[in-house]
Symmetry: C2
């Protein structure tokens, strides 16, 4: 009897250990742990299950599993101002002593005196001038070095946290989940491609060759008998709005089957993605959580979510409510 009890006890222990083991594995394997158990999470998992189910009509071969992600506001925070604009501001300050004329010339004067409104009053034309002044006139290697040095310590002006820690934990999990299911993930961003490539691999696991962005003309030159690539002050691609499908076709050469964005700048990428044959997925991140992040949408100046939101509602695309759908926003 005692022996039997002992055996039963042993079985109970073994059973709990083994259950515990199974639960552990399940917890580890449960995809998207920072996503709440809402329709949004289900929509993602349903889509991925559908395209990976071999033999089904909705199966998509691995080679066609291309997913594209906007960066600013989709993978990392873009408020109170876009990270690349902070970098640009810093560069303007560094370069100002060599450009006394900037003290009275917009958009430079505004940036130097902290009057961002005045600096951005000229709109896209002003931003283009800033980009030319700060992103060109050096070699690609010199620029990469500038970015690497800056990003290592650059912090969000509101939270004081490193920008590279202001990435969205649920989106990092989504990248992992897609990769684990055979997807090749790309960034397709309005940001400068040479600004993003130095750190995307470390921060998102996305290598330089899977980053598409705005870019300027390059020119091969010989300096001290060595070839260098000079960054010329001529725009090549504005990888935003109608430029996103162009960038995708030029640099990737296939239409994605899933696309992720957060503003009207992503609308055409989502439309391009959704208009191909077979199963497709489009998602917009809605910034509706001012407590944990920022709140902005229809009337935002730099990252308006208006027309794309209407399209999403009209076509049943997935819209993430950061407040409701994300348990955590940033990595701990």
């Amino acid at each position: 009897m005692r022996r039997r009890q002992a055996l039963v006890g042993l079985w109970i222990i073994l059973a709990s250990v083994s259950t515990l083991g199974v639960q552990d594995v399940r917890a580890a394997d449960k995809p998207l742990p920072s996503w709440s158990d809402t329709a949004t999470r289900s929509a993602i998992i349903d889509f991925v299950s559908k395209v990976t189910r071999e033999g089904s009509a909705s199966f998509v071969p691995v080679s066609e599993r291309i997913a594209t992600f906007d960066n600013d506001g989709t993978l990392w925070a873009e408020k109170p101002l876009p990270v690349e604009l902070s970098f640009t501001l810093q560069r303007v300050k560094e370069l100002a002593p060599q450009h006394p004329e900037w003290r009275t010339k917009q958009p430079f004067a505004g940036l130097l005196t902290g009057d961002l409104k005045a600096a951005l009053a000229a709109g896209e034309q002003g931003i283009a001038e800033l980009v030319v002044a700060t992103h060109t006139g050096m070699t690609t290697e010199e620029f990469t070095h500038e970015v690497e040095t800056w990003i290592a310590s650059a912090k969000n002006p509101k939270t004081g946290k490193l920008n590279t820690r202001m990435v969205y934990q649920p989106m990092l999990e989504l990248l992992d989940y897609l990769r684990a299911n055979g997807f090749k993930v790309f960034i397709v961003s309005g940001g400068g491609v040479e600004f993003m490539r130095p750190w995307t691999e470390k921060v998102y696991g996305i290598p330089p060759e899977q980053v598409v962005g705005s870019s300027g003309k390059l020119q091969l030159e010989m300096r001290d008998g060595k070839p260098v690539l000079a960054k010329l002050p001529t725009v090549e691609l504005i990888d935003d709005k109608a430029g996103k499908p162009v960038g995708i076709q030029e640099r990737i050469g296939r239409r994605p089957i899933a696309a992720f964005g957060n503003s009207d700048g992503d609308l055409q990428m989502l439309q391009w993605t959704m208009s191909g044959p077979g199963p497709r997925f489009a998602l917009l991140v809605h910034h509706d959580d001012p407590k944990r992040e920022f709140r902005y949408d229809r009337t935002d100046k730099l990252a308006k979510l208006d027309k794309a939101w209407d399209e999403a509602l009209a076509h049943g695309w997935t819209v993430v409510s950061m407040k409701r759908d994300w348990k955590t926003i940033f990595p701990e």
Copy 2:
């Protein structure tokens, strides 16, 4: 005694079986079987062994193992005329009824009457005109369809074999060997990117997103309520000569550690590759086997190997003699 003999016999059998097994495995694993046992093959294997030896000073992490290949004359035959030129000629014939003016206008007239010399007399300007006339004015999807249809049956005018079977067996093995050793291989070709992408995955195992080539401007348009990408008659990148490092930086974003070409059009790609830090490898294919393929080098009009050859000799880059270094040229 008998038992001992039996044991010895068993050991001999086991030993031979096991030796046989090992030999089989070795034969199957022996890299580059179509390459003769010359210094060229050794140079390739030495380089790959060096960069993959973990813990050594010459080790290169997988993410940096980028190799770029020219296409025409490096991966497939480009004689008696480049494959894309055959395609262009075919397109000119198809489109000629809509362009009566072509009958008296070069380079079209030359192509239509078979006077290739007259057609190519205008040089690059003439080729650009042909490309605009045959490669633009339709959507990317329409053009892809044209290429797919054509390539399925297009044959080399001299051998009568499918162009897609006029690929170099030793180079297919080299692609496999590099991939098996953690390399990501890219095509970086002067040919049109939209001309290559429809078939490179099937023929070389190189997906569209790893193909860099010459390209024209694209424009997003809505047709019947659906987004399409129109191919505009404006050149964006001539991915040849000094354009190759530009294409590499723009589309890949890292400097390769190994590059493979066959003409002066590849010189700058090889220089760019070799001028980075750490172990590097550059290889030129020399077409010196008129019996099995074609013979051309210093004085060829379309694919001259002259300056790049001198550079290779001066710097000790690897030069393949197709005659001496390749046991077979084409797949059986």
